[in-house]
């Protein structure tokens, strides 16, 4: 139930860069189970957009089996608290979360054919705002967010992203991209999804350039846009 624009990533055969091979600097022990998990947490925290006070995380597959030994639980919480993949506080993230008054719970679930390193994160923020994010750690510290609050997405966190919640109607994409054009923000990848025709929809634009507060605010003012927010590259 979603449409996909033709600006999907074609990067499958791209040669990785020097620092994908010698790098990243990270806290061990596993790029997928630790560093990737930090990045999932980081993106989820940015999507929530405010400090989390309650966190419930469902772990699937290899994440569920080995999360304690790999510190995946610590890594996810560390990311939600905004720690980077090379922050030495990751190993103490459970204690730090308690100190910060964040309640957390980890459950092992079976999501069937989902990627073996999938996590479902239910976050509640300090104002009561909630977010549900599904994402997978797909190897080498790379991640793919596949669902935000019920909308199918494909977000890697490698680029700054603008997320726009809007009503599905003609011209809305042009209006939003027009704002970006005026601020000379180049769009790298774009995806639009909706529940049904004319209903609430979600637009994700990954950009080459940083998204200023002004850009986001102007997108928020566009008619039929309910909310717009940006998340930085992580």
């Amino acid at each position: 139930m979603y449409i996909v624009l033709q600006m999907q990533r074609l990067a499958v055969f791209d040669l990785h860069g020097v620092f994908d091979i010698i790098g990243p600097v990270m806290i061990g022990p596993s790029s997928s189970h630790t560093a990737g998990a930090v990045r999932l947490g980081l993106i989820a925290g940015k999507i929530l957009g405010e400090p989390a006070v309650a966190v419930e995380i469902n772990l699937h597959g290899s994440f569920a089996q080995t999360y304690k030994g790999h510190g995946t639980d610590k890594a996810l919480l560390a990311g939600i608290m905004g720690f980077s993949t090379e922050d030495e506080r990751i190993r103490n993230a459970l204690d730090i979360a308690v100190e910060r008054g964040i309640s957390y719970q980890f459950c092992c679930v079976n999501l069937g054919e989902a990627h073996p390193n999938t996590a479902v994160l239910y976050l509640t923020g300090s104002s009561g705002k909630t977010a549900r994010i599904i994402g997978a750690s797909v190897g080498g510290g790379n991640v793919m967010i596949t669902n935000i609050d019920g909308y199918d997405v494909a977000l890697t966190g490698q680029y700054p992203a603008l997320i726009v919640v809007h009503r599905d109607c003609p011209g809305i994409i042009a209006k939003v991209t027009n704002v970006l054009a005026r601020y000379e923000v180049n769009i790298a990848f774009m995806r639009v999804s909706r529940h049904s025709r004319g209903a609430e929809a979600l637009m994700i634009l990954e950009t080459d350039d940083l998204l200023s507060d002004d850009v986001v605010e102007e997108c928020r003012q566009v008619c039929d846009v309910e909310d717009a927010f940006s998340i930085p590259a992580v």
Partner: protein, 293 residues
Amino acid sequence: MINFKSVKDLVDLGESKNAVISELIIAYEMESTQISREDVLRKMKNNWQVMQEAALRGIANEEKSVSGLVGGDARRLAGYGDYGYTGAVVMKAAAYAVGISEVNAIMGRIVACPTAGSCGILPAAILAAAEKNKNTEDEILAALFTAAGIGMIIDQNASISGAEGGCQAECGSAAGMAAAALVVLKGGTSKQICDGAALAIKNMLGLVCDPVAGLVEVPCVKRNGFAVVQAMVAADMAMAGIRSVIPIDEVIEAMKNIGAALPKSLRETSEGGLAATPTAQAIEQKLYGHKSI
């Protein structure tokens, strides 16, 4: 435009431009990311700094991992060094490699190269060699960029993921990268770089990924120590003038095919190999209170 799809492309490009492999890789990175040479070098220097810190922390480490399976062995090896059969330099390299992997296992800071599971091999090789050769920082950076180039091509033409290609893709790739770096530190030619990398990888082909209880600990940590020694012997062979009969690009192709032929049980799933032994199963039972397979 710096374009290459194979190690041969890199060597040919180097000949036509009269440039060494490390310079081509630096130029490629500048071009593809649009950042200055200064910044590319700075990033690598920062990574080298983290590598050295991990190595020194590793050989002094007494802390155990959460599972209790690893920790403290690098310190033992570093203390034993001079009594060993293999000589002080090789023992030092092995100790550094085990040590960096231990730092990884205790949730310390490391540089994935190419992965976290194989993070000890390249830095250990360069650090031990540079101490012996008294290499300059510029030579060390050239070694790192050359290793990165080899790794980038393996990543593109085969795999650097244990889940896809088994341990040969992680520790095997790292050993090939380390051998290339070691040849650079001895002032070897592009051909010798290719031979060193090919010889090292050839000897790691077929290595499966069968981590006990799914953790990057057993056999990974000690295997980093063995792999750096393989890289050193491969570099010595290449510098002695020994050629690899099978060229590096074909070795990489073979690695890809072998990885594809490995059953899933031997590709990081912990369903086979060492992970399926009675001792490993007992460890898993103790850690998780249930068998994961």
